[in-house]
Amino acid sequence: MNYFAGLDIGSTAIKVALVDEGGRLAGVHVTESGSLFHKNAKEALRMLLERHGVDREQVKYLIATGYGRKLFKEADDSISEITANAIGAHEAGRAFGGVRTIINIGGQDSKAIQLDDQGNVANFAMNDKCAAGTGRFLDVAARNLNIDLEELGDYHFNGKGAPLTINSTCTVFAESEIIGLLANGHGKEEIVAGIHYSIAKRTVRLAKRVGIEDRVYFDGGPALNKGLVAAIQDELQRELVVPEHPQTTTAFGAAILARNEFFAESD
């Protein structure tokens, strides 16, 4: 059996996806990027293959994507994460009846992508060089509040009062604002909800720039945070489609493309 792999080397995490000849997802693996991301990327691939009992030789085509895509010379080709995300979401979105808009929040950027009816990128927007409203923002906020990233979702729903307003969109300024709110005796729950709404507002503004069409697919690591999902749905006034593995949609897209390229080249 032949396999095809997509490797998404992001700023925070490395994601690998494996598909079979039919384009079905065979497995995924996520690990931290760290500073030696080249080594970590190779290791991530090795671990995924080992877990599924696949030999490296069985992987016929490998496409790299994400910030580290150019530096991973073992790949057959590379593609921008925007195109890869579009392919992955279009494919994964079939199970939900098809998607036309993607909201992606990554470790250091956020994107909105609009797809045409065939799943091609019609338009996209990306935040301009600033960590506001990205995974990094959540990371910093969680650290200030002294809670785990995974707990943010629970805090969001456990507040007694209304979400507080976080005015600063800058990660650095928001940090001091959060500390100020804590010092004034506000509850962590209301602060967490406030942070989620602050990110949601920014993200929805970005999505409006490309145009929102149903269904809206939400992926990237922060899509695992149920509180953030609720806040974005609230701001968007629409339901979001959140896949089972929101972190690996882009890697999956790269793997699908690897499979298609392999068959196109062997024709």
Binding site: I82, T83, N120, V121, F124, D128, K129
Partner: protein, 426 residues
């Protein structure tokens, strides 16, 4: 004793602004194969001026300009030399931040920073006069700041609209006033003869540029946009006759290239029209990223290239005053700068360029803080999208730290163009 710099590497070459220029030049020369032989003149020129800090000569008085709306013809006519001061250096941008609010346009800040710096690059003599056309608010307010640095500054008054007859007359008066000012500074009177000679000089440069511009219609491309931007940036400070010689030489080489079927880019390379805030050396970040990602910039609508040189001066009036008026018209009418209240000409120009250069998409650069370009973004995008032309809007500045993010966006844009074309072909 302190270690002194080794003789081979003078201290200047290790300065931040020299380093910045060197990185840009290295990208332009080393990241691409098949650079035209005639480009060597420009590569060498930039190395000498920006990296080695070579001083630039000039004839007569030196007149600094901060915008293409200051007519070079008038300056040459009175025996003076113009030098365009618009600056593209991140180093000077940071120095200029002392004068302007932090969120202002990098180009204005860098120009102020350069003028303030004792080690100005390009290294020219101190301008005898700086002409500052009253365009955007940031440029307008910089007049007093430049004056505060001890320079003589002249506000060349521009109207806020360009279609009305009042605006036309107002601008004609402004240009006449400017001619008087030049007489005051140089002691030389404008005559029919010296103006005709000056127009011949600039027309030769414009003709050479127009020929170069037309080569960019070929598909596959025979020259890359990064080289064209470098050439037009050289026009800011290079001796105009030497510049025209070098461009004519390049045109001869491109004629040959075209005959031989030379390819400067892949046949399927997405063809990009560049618009918005001007790329000014060393900030050629965006055009270089586009071409490194496999696109080719086939035309532009910016004041550091096409808008500066495309429109030829044809003045056939008999009296010198009428000649000046007609020259003024030539500067106002075709200007597609977003400072004007209404700017539908810019949409028409862009659509026209897309059609005649067979562009597949448009990249729109707005320098953060350049409000007029930021504000026009939406209407331009709508006008282009209505014709099925995709546009990528990029807000950036002079700092190098957004290159990773920008290259992702550019690649995705180029990939989506390729998909679109494949689909259209199928």
């Amino acid at each position: 004793m302190n270690a002194s710099p080794t003789p081979e590497v003078p201290a200047f070459q290790r300065s931040r602004q020299a380093r910045e220029s060197e990185i840009t030049l290295d990208h332009i020369t080393d990241d691409f194969d098949g650079n035209p032989a005639a480009m060597q003149y420009f590569y060498d020129l930039f190395r000498r001026v920006f990296i080695q800090g070579e001083a630039l000569p000039h004839e007569g008085k030196l007149i600094g300009t901060t915008c293409i709306q200051a007519p070079d013809e008038l300056i040459y006519a009175v025996g003076a030399t113009p030098v365009r001061l618009c600056n593209g250096s991140y180093h000077y941008d940071q120095i200029g931040a002392d004068f302007m609010p932090a969120k202002s346009c990098a180009l204005v800040k860098a120009t102020l920073g350069m003028l303030h710096s004792a080690t100005r690059i390009p290294k020219t003599a101190r301008p005898d006069l700086i002409v500052n056309p009253t365009t955007c608010d940031q440029k307008k307010k910089s007049s007093a700041m430049i004056e505060g640095m001890g320079y003589a500054v002249y506000d060349l008054e521009m109207p806020n609209v360009k279609e009305s007859e009042e605006a036309r007359l107002y601008w004609q008066r402004s240009v006449r006033q400017f001619a008087h000012k030049l007489r005051e500074v140089t002691g030389k009177k404008l005559t029919r003869q010296n103006l005709k000679k000056a127009i011949a000089k600039t027309s030769r440069a414009q003709a050479a540029f127009r020929q170069l511009h037309n080569f960019r219609k070929s598909s596959p491309a025979v020259i890359l946009g990064k080289d064209v931007f470098l050439i037009t940036n050289a026009f800011f400070f290079d001796d105009i006759d030497r510049w025209s010689d070098a461009v004519e030489k390049l045109n001869a080489e491109l004629t040959q290239r075209q005959a031989e079927g030379f390819k400067a880019a892949q046949r399927k390379a997405p063809r990009i029209l560049f618009t918005g805030s001007p790329p000014v050396f060393p900030n050629l970040k965006l055009p270089v990223l586009i071409e490194e990602a496999g696109g080719v910039v086939v035309a532009d609508e910016t004041c550091s290239a096409n808008r500066m040189l495309y429109d030829m001066t044809a003045v056939d009036e008999w009296l010198v005053n009428d000649m000046v008026d007609s020259l003024a018209d030539k500067y106002l009418k075709p200007c597609t700068c977003p400072i004007f209240a209404r700017n539908d000409d810019r949409k028409r120009r862009l659509l026209d360029l897309v059609a005649s250069f067979e562009a597949d998409g448009v990249v729109y650069q707005a320098l953060a803080g350049c409000q007029v370009y930021e504000m026009e973004q939406k209407s331009i995008a709508e006008a282009l999208n209505a014709q099925g032309i995709p546009m990528l809007y990029v807000e950036t500045d002079y700092s190098p730290d957004d290159q990773g993010q920008l290259s992702t966006r550019i690649e995705a844009f180029l990939e989506s163009i390729k998909t679109r074309k494949r689909k259209a072909a199928a």
